[in-house]
Structure formats: C-alpha cells, structure tokens
Symmetry: C2
Subunit: 403 residues, 2 copies
Amino acid sequence: MGEFLKVVNYKDAIKLIKDNLPLKKTKTVTLLDSLNHVLAQDVVSTEDIPAFNRSTVDGYAVKAEDTYGGSESSPQFLDFKGSLQIDQESVIKINSNECLWIPTGGMLPVGADAVVMVEYTEKLGDDTVLIFKPVSPSENVIQKGEDVNKKQTIFTSGINIKPQDIGVLASVGITSLQVYEKYKIGIISTGDEIVPIEQKPELGQIRDINSYTIASALKKIGNTLRLYPIAKDDYNELKLSIEKALSENDLLIMSGGSSVGTMDLTLDVLLSFEEAQMLFHGVAVKPGKPTMVVKIGDKIVIGLPGHPVSALMMLYILCLPILGVSSINTIEAVIDINLPSQAGRDDFIPVKLIQTESGTTATPLIGKSGLMTLLSNADGYIHIEAEQQGVIKGELVKVYKFN
Amino acid sequence: MGEFLKVVNYKDAIKLIKDNLPLKKTKTVTLLDSLNHVLAQDVVSTEDIPAFNRSTVDGYAVKAEDTYGGSESSPQFLDFKGSLQIDQESVIKINSNECLWIPTGGMLPVGADAVVMVEYTEKLGDDTVLIFKPVSPSENVIQKGEDVNKKQTIFTSGINIKPQDIGVLASVGITSLQVYEKYKIGIISTGDEIVPIEQKPELGQIRDINSYTIASALKKIGNTLRLYPIAKDDYNELKLSIEKALSENDLLIMSGGSSVGTMDLTLDVLLSFEEAQMLFHGVAVKPGKPTMVVKIGDKIVIGLPGHPVSALMMLYILCLPILGVSSINTIEAVIDINLPSQAGRDDFIPVKLIQTESGTTATPLIGKSGLMTLLSNADGYIHIEAEQQGVIKGELVKVYKFN
C-alpha cells in the first residue's frame, strides 16, 4: 500500500514536466493586454525613434561652437530668431550666432546641433539672448534613431512583457502583438473526507482548502482557472470528473485527499486512460514526496499531496517554475539556527524574515508542518538542495519570498 | 515661465499625498476574489482547526507508552483492533496494548495519544502489529485547535491577502469577507505634440507612450483604470476632460506633455476648480522634478512629467508606494562604478543586474536619460537618498527590481 512507483529527484521532476508540457498556442492581443505575457514573435521597428533630433530640455537651439567661452561674468550674445512650437517642424534655419527658443521634446531646427537650458540663459529685449554656459555638440539632444533604429529588432520572442517594454512598443506604433496563451488549468480536490468550504465539517471531515490555495496562487500569476466539484473516492466518479476536466483544460492539478488510499485510487484512474504515461510517482523533497505526474495524450495531470501545506508548497516549488514564473522574488538572509537535512532530498522550509541592524535574519518555522497558519505567517521559504547536508546557524541563505 | 511654486523633498511628497488620499471604500468579496486585496475587517474563527485530534501520517493510533522500548531487533507487539476510515469518527476506544489503523488526516480514537508511522510497523497475521520504533505522546498528531483556536482573531484589518491566508480562511469556512476597494484611476496624456499610438507621427510629434506605460504599471498591481483621450493644450478642452475624469475616478494621473507650457496650462486648469488645493509643485528628485499634485475636493490629481522615462520612473517611485505597493521586490548588489549625487535630492538610477561568481553586480544605465529602451533594458533601479553624496564603486546597494 502506498508504495512510490517511480521516485525522482527535484531537478528531474521539473525537467520531466517541462519536457512534456503541451505546446503553447499563440494569440494576438492588444498592446495593453500583452502585459505579463510571453512574446511569441520578434518585433522589428519600421521607424526611427525619435524620428527627428529632439531637445531634452526647454531652452535655446544653437550651434554649440557659438556658446564656447560663455560664462556668468562674460556671456555670449546670440540673435533671437523666434520660438518653435512643440509640435512643429522648424522652418527657420539657424546660422552662426543665432538661436531659436525650443521646448522640451521640440524638433531641432536645421543648423543647430545643441540646446542651452533656459536656466543658463537670459533674454535681453526682443532680439538678444545671453548664454552663460557653453554646450558641446549634441548636448541636450537625442539624435534621430538613438532610442530605436529603423529595422532594429527591438524584442525577441520569449521575453516576459513589462510596462517599460510596452512603452518601447507604443513608441514605434505597435498596437497589437502575438503572445503565448497561458495554459488553461483545471483544479480538482479529491477525498471522501473533503467537504465544500461553506459546509460545516462533521467529525473526521475537513474543508476543501486546496482548491482555494491552488486557485489563488495560480490566479496571482495570471492563469486561467476552472474549479471542479470535489470528487469522492469512487473510481467511476473520479474518472468522469477527470475526463471532463481534461477536455476543458491544458493542465489538471489534483490534490489527493490526505490518505494514501485516495492517492492510489487517483493513480489507478489516471493510468486507465488510453495514452496515459506516468512521468513520476514520488519526488525526493520535503514536504511533498507524494506527488505524481501523469501525461495523458498531450495534457499533463499533476497530483499533489492532499495535505494543504504540502500541496501549496509543492505548487510553489514545482508548479510555478514549470509555468515559467522564473523570477521569484528572492532575498539573502542569515539563518538563525542549524538545520540538518537528509542528503539526496531537497528540503523546502518556510521562514519568517526579521529585519535587524546588521541585516535580515531568517527564522525557520519548523513547528508541526501541518499548520496552514504557520505557512500564512511565513514570509518565504529556503531551499536546501539535495547535495547539501543542511545549513549552519549564521550562514547566508537565499529566501524565496511569497510576495 | 515654468517656475516650481512649491518644491518638496521625496519623503514629504509621499507623505503629503498619503495624508490626502480619498477614504477607501470597502466591499464584500468572495474568498477567491479577496486575493491581493487589503482586508477591511478583523476575522475571528468560530471553530477549532482541526476540529479533532488529527493524524499527520498513515499508521497506527496507539498509547505512546505502549511503544516505549520498541526497536528493530525487539519490537513491541500490539493488538490490532481494526481500521479507521478517513472520514469517520472512531467508535472503537483504544486500551492498553491495542492499536487501530489510521490514515493521514484521520481522527484519533479515544484512548490513543500518538500515531506510529506505517514505515516503522509490520502487520503480523490478522490480529497483531509489530512496532519497531517508539513514539512520544502527541507524536504525529495535530491537536484539536492547534492550527486555529475557536474565538481566535486569525487576521486583523490591513493585511494584504495572499494564497496561504486564503487557505487559513477556507479552513474555518469563511466564504466572503470585507476588503478595501482599490482606487479607480483615470489616466490622461496632454500635449499638442502627442498623437495616438496607432497614428503615424508627423515631424515634431510623438506617440502617446505615457498612457500605456502608466496603465500597464497600474494594471500590474491590480488597479482599475480608465484611459481618456489625449488632451490638447487648450484650456477649455483640458478642463472638460479633467472634469469628466474626476467625476468617474478617485485618482487622476496626468502626464504633462514634454514642455513646460503644457505643465503650466495643466496647473492653471487644475487650480481653477473650486476646492482645489496645491499639495506640491516640484519634487527634489531625479528624474522627475516637474511633478505636481493637486487635491480637488476629496480627489487627487497627480501631474507627472511628460517625458516618458521620467513619467514611468515617477510612477514607480511615487505612485506605487502611495497605492500601498510596499513590498517592492528588492535585492542587494555591488555597484560597479562611482555615482556622484547632489545632496538634498533623491536620485533614482536604472541598473542592469549581472550575476557573477562573487554575487550580483549592478551596472547603472546612465546614457541619455530620455531613452525608453534603456529603461526597458534595466532590471531595476537604485535609490540614492537625499542625505547621501552618492555611492562608491564596490559598495553594496539595494536594487528595487521591476519584476
């Protein structure tokens, strides 16, 4: 009873799932909707940005050489040739010893090669501007194409699109683009003892915590979810439920009640599907060894432990990485007790972070591992890798933060 | 022209806005929808969790004292009294030298005070179980109320709800709760030179980058946004646009074209509203000095610089903190050049992070500050505070990461 049929280590578990994930479909979205998606095309600019030599300050467009030697005590005198409107191309050409008022963002007139900031100038009557500080050529000017070059590949497929990327895309006039669709993920809790959260459990029963923690952790990273009714420990009921969820999703995340019996039954049902292939049954990690993954056709079913704390930890350490949440928020901290660890097993231990004068301290929360309140109280977790024999008090550790 | 009327330092700017923010409304949401919201009530449990003494393993429920002295070579012999189903209350009482099979999550029978893991047992025939390892009282058992106590305040108003909190709430049967509504935020870009992104700019014009970067940075933290049409530098048009946006939102974020003229006009229009009160006009930061905040009635208008890079940086450093995004992802890194900084001014400098063998290095991206591609290429920014005179090559700095 409850033997693990194919135990793998943590790294292999991640690799096995990644290698067998369904192909991602692509879709076209508007620029704003592309946020937090992975780009599925290369983007080439068809324009120079800026499209013209552009002033970065309010001031006077000049020939730089005409300002050389200007100082507070001995300014240069330039002829004022008028003011440029922000959205206009200048029709006035700047000749030696001439200047033109130009607003920030304005287009540099022909003949000018720099801009003197208004702070270092003074208008003298209608026709003359005093220059108190010299500028060098190109000073306070962004050259045509300096931000983005025409025909430049500005982004390559595979990047995760962030606000400033959207800024670059907006600047070159990209209004829609191809991104990868996120997986549709179905969630099923199983087990005779599990009852809906709105129901008062009788003695021996427990509420369906897992559907909610799994759904919210996935929702947080922007996935599309579908929650299915709790499935009892009944072969036919379970099979129908899995069939339906598989037909409506790319991935299925199940959590297996807390008993080995439920897990065994779930595995039986999963392997009864045509094309079912067990990728692994058991991962050498703590907590969460009773985790299994079965490939059915081109879809993947991940069976997490039933225990709510283990299930959520496995979601963080196994499911989020395979869903491409690579840049989990990490921080370095000093561990404040010795933590032994079994060689050959990857340990993940929730910690509380405390700011001290000398830095950040991580206190492992190693009470009864069954307590969800303990995980709720944690700021993150540390990862003791399989090769390590543990960590020693005072050692610097990497903390993966929950927020 | 373009004088700053009331320049404040960075800390005061944040405080001034925070002190004048509209009161937050509360709303009732379902448990799953409460994710990433701020709790607006205290939550008190009406139940003990677990509601019964619960086994954390598959094994045999025993009186701990009956297992003392058991070892591989000399096991204890206990009488097997049957198996407990996962969702059932045991009707069998455990007496001395008796044991009962119990699954993980099962309810401890009366008389038992510990559970021996199945790995350390062997069933001998129908009636006897060998115990190869002793357990202490309470071992492998979560006591009734150990996770959550009846009448315990499990969460207090003000916390940001994360997946494991949702787990705790699910465990005690909370299906809906009071959270603070996020602010509705209107976004208006202004300036004669700004054209919609789908339009090809003529010489002197530039696309509306700011609406998209501001909207996506706010969307990323879960805010409700409304984008308004670009407003030209026209007093009446601007006034109508602001009136409409104020009536439909709690906050209004404007970006002011790139010229001082546009900013001056925007300020005039804002101050023309009854009950308008200028909180500040100018912040001693780089980049982004030309930032202003006006309170109109109980609403707040934030005028960001028109320059896209400055506008987005100000959004990150000024707007996100006041919207309660406190736990920005930070990492420590070694700065790889000297960076001087003007005392009395807070400097924010984009950096690229590079992983080296000795740790993480931060390389400031200090080319022309006007380049959005530069910000798109940055991994985060560092903050040189007003009291600091700069940072020195090799110093450890805190990097605020964009992801």
